[in-house]
């Protein structure tokens, strides 16, 4: 098992997710980018847990999954509600909260 491969894969996935969040306007796609980043970290957790022979990383991956699931439920609900009122799923249209 070559750790570097897993680490590079996790980094690449995280970078793709982050780029998606920063560049795309569609809220659903931004959401997917977030999920991708979460799963990239999960992969890193599991990899290093295996490497160190320690279960902590694996447990943390489960926690992240649970939190991500909850987040998806709440986040999708918000997106749907916004879409219903504003007929738009663009994150740039919801910019009323500003200084």
């Amino acid at each position: 098992m070559e750790v570097t491969n897993y680490a590079v894969l996790a980094s690449v996935l995280f970078a793709i997710g982050a780029t998606t969040v920063l560049l795309r306007r569609n809220a659903i796609v931004v959401f997917m980018g977030v999920e991708l980043m979460l799963n990239a970290t999960n992969l890193a957790f599991v990899t290093f847990a295996r490497l160190h022979g320690d279960l902590t990383g694996q447990v943390l991956a489960f926690f992240v999954m649970v939190v991500a699931a909850a987040e998806v439920v709440v986040g999708l609900a918000i997106i749907v509600t916004i879409f219903r009122t504003r007929r738009s799923a663009s994150v740039d249209d919801v910019n009323l909260l500003k200084g």
Binding site: A18, L22, V30, V94
Partner: protein, 641 residues
Amino acid sequence: MDNVIGLAPWLVGFPLLGAAILLLGGKAADRWGHWLGVAASAASGVVGFILLAAMLGLPDDGRVLDHHLWTWLSAGGLDVDLGIRLDPLSVTFVMLVTFVGTLIHVYSVAYMAHDPHRRRFFAYLNLFVAAMLTLVLANSYLLLFVGWEGVGLASYLLIGFWDHERTNAVAAKKAFVMNRVGDMGLIAAMALMFATVGSVSFADVLPAAAGEAGPAGRLEPSTGTWTAIALLLLLAACGKSAQFPLQAWLGDAMAGPTPVSALIHAATMVTAGVYLMVRSATILEAAPTAQLVVVLVGGITLLFGAIVGCAKDDIKKALAASTMSQIGYMMLAAGLGPVGYAFAIFHLLTHGFFKAGLFLGAGSVMHGMDDNVDMRGYGGLSRFLPVTAVTMGLGWLAILGVPPFSGFWSKDRIIEAAFVGEGWQPWVFGTVTLVGAGITAFYMSRLFFMTFAGTRRWDDDHHPHESPFLMTAPMIVLAVGSVALGGLLAIGGTFTTWLEPVTGHVEHHEPVLPVWVITTLTLVLVLGGAALAFLQYAARRVPARAPHGSALTRAARRDLYQDPANEALVMLPGQVLTRTAVYADKAVVDGGWLGLAGSVTRAGDQIRKAQNGYARSYAAMTLAGVLVIAGVAGIAAAVTQ
């Protein structure tokens, strides 16, 4: 004595109660309020008389009584008991205040008859009597200070009684502010007493000043501290008694109704400074320098007042200048030490009678002349106001010091006492008092002749008439006092013996000149002054408009430039200071904080732009922040390895 000393608090209680009822009673009390005021003052007088009679029944050495009422305050090392000190000095004052006070209350009933606010006037008069009695009956400097402030308040309220006239309100404010300067001295003196003796009650402070052991404070008592305390007390006395350099308020205080001028600004309140000096006699004796300063202040003021009095055409202001001058005599006597105390108080007593009588007479003249106060518009009034002319004439002879009238017995003894001593002092002080007596004779005769003698100078609009009985009766009583009181109390040394428990026994001192020479000189000067005034103001026609006059006359007319001097020396620097402080506050303090607030606002305006509402830019910032932290952590890890 034990059975009547319980009455002592009622001395203050009656007039205080009277003032409270009159102030709270509202319009319902308008009809009978003035008589309640008279009754309260008279009741106090009756109590005073009972106490006087009881005290006369005591042996000489048992006449200083401290009547403890309750513990007033207890704070750390300072315990002040509220109590009453009854001794010959305070009882003398009680009798003067209540007797003259009651007469003036009666006079005011008629004098203020047409004033819509007569009830308020009597409330203030009662308040004054209560405060003045608190002042003289106090057994500690702190309680004395309460009375001291009380009389100041009553004086302020009464000077500005007709405050719909702006000048009256300004005069009241002037008196109040100048008195504050003196009060500062009393407060500072009390602080020093507490620091040196650890107490402010007479029973502790006065023996300590005499060198007797007592409670000790933090400071070691030395001549220096006693001098400081004495000078601060003198400052207080100068403020209250209108002595140089705090004399400027008394002339303007004549803006008040005439009974007020008689009671407060002639007979009683302005003598509180003399009372304070005599009460603090042992402190003064522990500080010879301060004693000298007291004499100097008295001497300067007595000449100052006398010179000003010579040039005033306003009858009340002339009397005010005379009051200042006479109190100068008392101060001088108080500063002379044990030879002078008894005569200071004696002159205070006789002066209280004849000056109150003179003021009431002036009020009666004004009453008959439609409130005109300019003596150049009087002349030949004795035919129209015979009772006033006779009573004022007796007061005039008394203040001149013509034997056997009251003033002769008191003022001549002060002049004699001024001639006692060694070195240059008796000659200087003696001469000052002698010259003062001559000038007094001149200006008082001028006042009398301009008013009652000569030809009429008023126009047909005025119809001079004698005042009602309620006004003339008090004047008659005071005139009798002016004639007889001095001789009655002086012959055989009755009064000096009476005061001995307070002032101590004094061996007879021989003046530097034989007594008969001094008396003759005084009488010659007095007769000379009076004759000069007669030639100028009775034998010759008095011009209805004041002539231009010499430089001295013009200066005296303007109170020897006391107001311009005060304005230049005190008011102007004060104004410059406050204006600078206001400017500094605006420019430096406000400027600094407002500038700081402004820059914070401007910075906020810039940073605000980062909060643009775009979720993606927030995400970018978060990412950037995480990258920075990761970078820093990486560098730190690399460095530590």
